[in-house]
């Protein structure tokens, strides 16, 4: 088996040598074009388009968590907090929720007559990113001196606290008869994105939504790729691998860790704002702990620390959760004679996937180079210079 893999690797390396240097850029451009024209191949409101949009939004979110858990090695189990804050940014600044205010910035004609705070969607995206970045830094502060498992618990606790605030915000009054959130009643009928010249997005034609989230994904991908190869990205990896050594080499511990939390949270917030407007409501019941695990599963199954892994993981799990299980395979158990539908065992399927991945392939689908070295014994010839000393505590697979 490993011989076959080595052979495939050789072929790939040989093929790679024969391609001109601009081939990877061209390929990337090709896939961007495919992404743009994809909606024309499917119905404008089909279940598949719906699942694709959600999958892309999950990919953005898992890219955010990938920065925290993958790059910086800080196990964050409370990522749902940033989803919530992003969605509530939309609920606060893009709907009639704060009905005493009359703020309108670059919104559609219909929305400019409604009470409340109505900002353009791009402004809300920026606001969500900033709010979540601040929250991420606040959440990260108590964890600075703690180690892995404890960071997990503290971030989990913060995630639960934000969830509680979301539910109980219904009774927290901010003046003028308005409350902080709408709890389980939900902030409903939020604004759809509006662009001058294009108009307001409707709920029936999913194509504009698709292009919007695709554009957001491309921007976030670009930022991620630049971050990974930047000084900050390398600082994160250094901290992850050996904190003491990194600090003694002069890497500012606090600033680097807080930046990891903040930037990771900002992406989560952007995706959360998109989800808020796509689902047309912001309901406290959407922000449960299970969501944090869901996103973490995407990052892990995709490959911890790997950007493409996070994207693939996000899309794969998004499709499985929103298309494969409810739409395509839901009646499979009844066809096999069982008395339940597949959506009822969704939890269990995810748990099973997590366990299987960890036992069989802990490095994920598209492993980051260093992680593959850590967790398996393979060393590709191209990576020989990255190889660490033998005897690393890997060899789990």
């Amino acid at each position: 088996m490993s011989e076959l893999r080595a052979l495939l690797r050789e072929w790939r390396a040989a093929a790679g040598k024969r391609l001109p240097p601009w081939s990877s850029r061209a390929l990337a451009g090709f896939f961007i074009v495919i992404g743009i024209v994809l909606p024309f191949g499917f119905g404008s409101a089909s279940g598949f388009m719906n699942a694709t949009i959600i999958a892309l939004a999950y990919a953005v979110m898992s890219l955010g968590l990938n920065i925290v858990v993958g790059f910086a090695g800080l196990l964050d189990l409370g990522y749902v907090a940033f989803y919530a804050l992003g969605a509530y940014s939309l609920g606060w600044f893009g709907s009639g929720f704060f009905f005493k205010a009359q703020v309108h910035v670059l919104v559609s004609k219909v929305a400019s007559t409604l009470p409340g705070v109505h900002l353009n969607f791009i402004l809300i995206l920026i606001a969500a990113a900033l709010i979540c970045a601040a929250a991420g830094a606040v959440i990260g502060l108590p964890t600075l001196r703690l180690r892995g498992d404890y960071i997990a618990i503290v971030t989990l606790a913060f995630g639960e606290i934000i969830g509680d605030v979301a539910v109980n915000g219904q009774s927290v009054h901010v003046g003028g008869g308005m409350t902080l959130t709408a709890g389980n009643l939900g902030i409903s009928a939020v604004d759809a994105p509006y662009f001058p010249g294009i108009g307001s997005f409707g709920l029936l034609d999913l194509r504009p939504w698709y292009w919007l989230i695709f554009a957001i994904l491309l921007v976030v991908l670009f930022v991620n790729l630049r971050l990974r190869d930047s000084r900050l990205g390398r600082a994160w990896v250094a901290l992850r691998e050996d904190e003491v050594a990194a600090v003694s080499m002069g890497i500012p511990l606090v600033k680097t860790k807080l930046l990891a939390y903040a930037i990771g949270a900002a992406f989560g917030g952007m995706s959360g704002a998109f989800f808020g407007t796509y689902y047309t409501e912001v309901n406290a019941g959407q922000f449960q702990f299970g969501f944090s695990i869901f996103i973490l599963a995407m990052v892990i199954i995709g490959g911890l620390g790997s950007i493409w892994g996070a994207v693939v993981g996000g899309m794969v799990l998004g499709y499985i959760n929103n298309y494969l299980i409810p739409d395509v395979l839901n009646t499979l158990p009844s066809k096999l004679g069982f008395n339940f539908q597949l959506t009822e065992v969704e939890f269990g399927i995810f748990g099973f996937l997590l366990v299987i991945m960890m036992v069989l392939r802990p490095q994920g689908l598209i492993p980051e180079r260093r992680r593959r070295l850590e967790l398996t014994a393979e060393i590709a010839p191209a990576d020989a210079q990255l190889a660490e000393a033998p005897g690393t505590p890997g060899g789990a697979a």
Binding site: L204, Y279, Y319, E346, F347
Partner: protein, 423 residues
């Protein structure tokens, strides 16, 4: 980047494969014949088919299917293709916003859909009405009672109901009287039972919170002293601290505004422990055997004599079509005493079928069906004669008061027609 190209290629292939596979709906279709006279129209229903609400929604779906089968699967010359969608998820055990939106979108993008039965929970309708409104699809709810969905009466939130109708045209109707009437009926019942201090608990959802708010707003009309209105956490393991708080307030009656899945049984048990003599009241969200019958997961039998609840359905035998409905229901499903909501399922489907049939060749046009529905002023139905006002609300204005029989099932006690409600 080479690795990424390989992965991206794989992903594209996977997308293509997945996209080309047909998606099946999580539903069961009704009867559809292959007759060549006229085409097909699609009718959807979106109800919570998992969790404690099934005690009410399963009989409702049965009623829907009964009406359809009595019409031979047709509405006039049109063949009806009925799909029963589930707006609940297993994990929540009750309705789910994402699932509701997906159902609404599915119906909204179906060009052959002409009628949408839903939702069961008022909070779910808040999600689906805007989506269906944009498609112009007529939507009739057999159970929503929250006032803000169609009116701006006291008890609704600011911006309601316009925010649910982005096109400005109403596309939503309901065949049950709204909560301003139900709250008044409950207050009358509590007054007649001799309550001096009522403690209200609500489950913080659109229906429960709305009903509790209306109880507070209308209590003065009927001289009932509501001492507290508390929002509870539906998933709390017990409500003993709440029970001891209302014991300290000296409450002698307890009203639960909410649905069964939201802790109704546990809070009733805890209140009964703290106040063994307190009378228990509830709205239509709990007036079903999953709340009242111990064998179906409800409260212990010792509490049953203390319970009274209200549902829109009155004495089935007194309805013009009631006896016939009971007989047909028993013949088809074998149950002699279905849940009060069964007949509403029957009527909501019959309403749709009759309206489509009356339009003849226009029966597959959403806008025609919508106009015809709003034009109904005096319809003879199994529930009696009723029409719709310009908000889409029914002209029926009475509620039925139920108590619990020895076998744990709710049984009709009397009709209450309130005279004064908020306006």
């Amino acid at each position: 980047m080479r690795r990424t190209s390989a992965i991206a290629a794989l992903a594209a292939v996977a997308l293509a494969v997945v996209g080309c596979s047909s998606s099946s709906s999580s539903s069961s279709s009704g009867s559809s014949s292959t007759s060549s006279s006229g085409g097909t129209v699609d009718i959807y229903s979106s109800l919570p088919l998992q969790g404690a609400s099934t005690a009410q929604t399963d009989p409702m779906v049965n009623g829907i299917k009964l009406a359809l089968s009595q019409a031979g699967g047709k509405a006039g010359k049109w063949t009806v293709n009925y799909q029963s969608l589930d707006d609940s998820t297993a994990a929540a055990g009750k309705w789910d916003p994402g699932q509701t939106a997906a159902n609404a979108r599915k119906a909204a993008t179906d060009p052959k859909a002409v009628y949408y039965i839903g939702e069961f929970n008022s909070g779910a309708s808040e999600v689906s009405i805007p989506i269906l409104n944009q498609a112009g699809l007529p939507q009739v709810s057999p159970a929503n009672t929250y006032v803000g969905l169609t009116t701006n009466l006291p008890g609704s939130a600011p911006g309601e109901p316009q925010k649910y109708y982005p096109t400005g045209v109403r596309t939503y109707l309901r065949i049950v009287p709204i909560d301003s009437i139900q709250a008044a009926s409950d207050l009358i019942a509590m007054k007649q039972a001799g309550c001096t201090k009522v403690a209200v608990a609500n489950d913080k959802e659109a229906y429960g919170a709305g009903l509790a708010t209306l109880l507070e707003l209308e209590k003065g009309y009927y001289g009932v002293n509501v001492v507290s209105d508390t929002g509870i956490d539906p998933t709390a393991p017990n409500f003993r601290s709440y029970a001891s708080t209302i014991q300290g307030e000296g409450a002698d009656c307890f009203f639960f505004a909410g649905i069964v899945s939201n802790g109704a049984v546990q809070i009733t048990k805890d209140v009964n422990s703290a106040l063994p003599k307190a009378k228990i009241f509830g709205g239509d969200g709990v007036c079903t055997d999953s709340y009242t019958a111990a064998s179906k997961g409800g409260v212990p039998a010792s509490i049953d004599p203390l319970i009274e609840c209200t549902v829109a359905t009155q004495d089935l035998a007194a309805y013009p079509g009631g006896k016939a409905f009971l007989a047909a229901y028993q013949a088809k499903y074998g149950t002699a005493n279905p849940d009060p909501y069964a007949i509403y399922g029957y009527e909501v489907m019959k309403l749709g079928l009759d309206t489509i049939a009356s339009l003849g060749a226009q029966g597959n046009s959403k806008s025609a069906v919508l106009k015809a529905l709003f034009a109904i002023k005096a319809r003879n139905s199994v529930l009696g004669t009723y029409g719709f006002d310009k908000n889409g609300d029914t002209t029926l204005k009475a509620y039925g008061l139920y108590k619990v029989a020895a076998n744990g099932e709710p049984v009709f006690l009397k009709t209450i027609t309130p005279t004064k409600t908020v306006s």
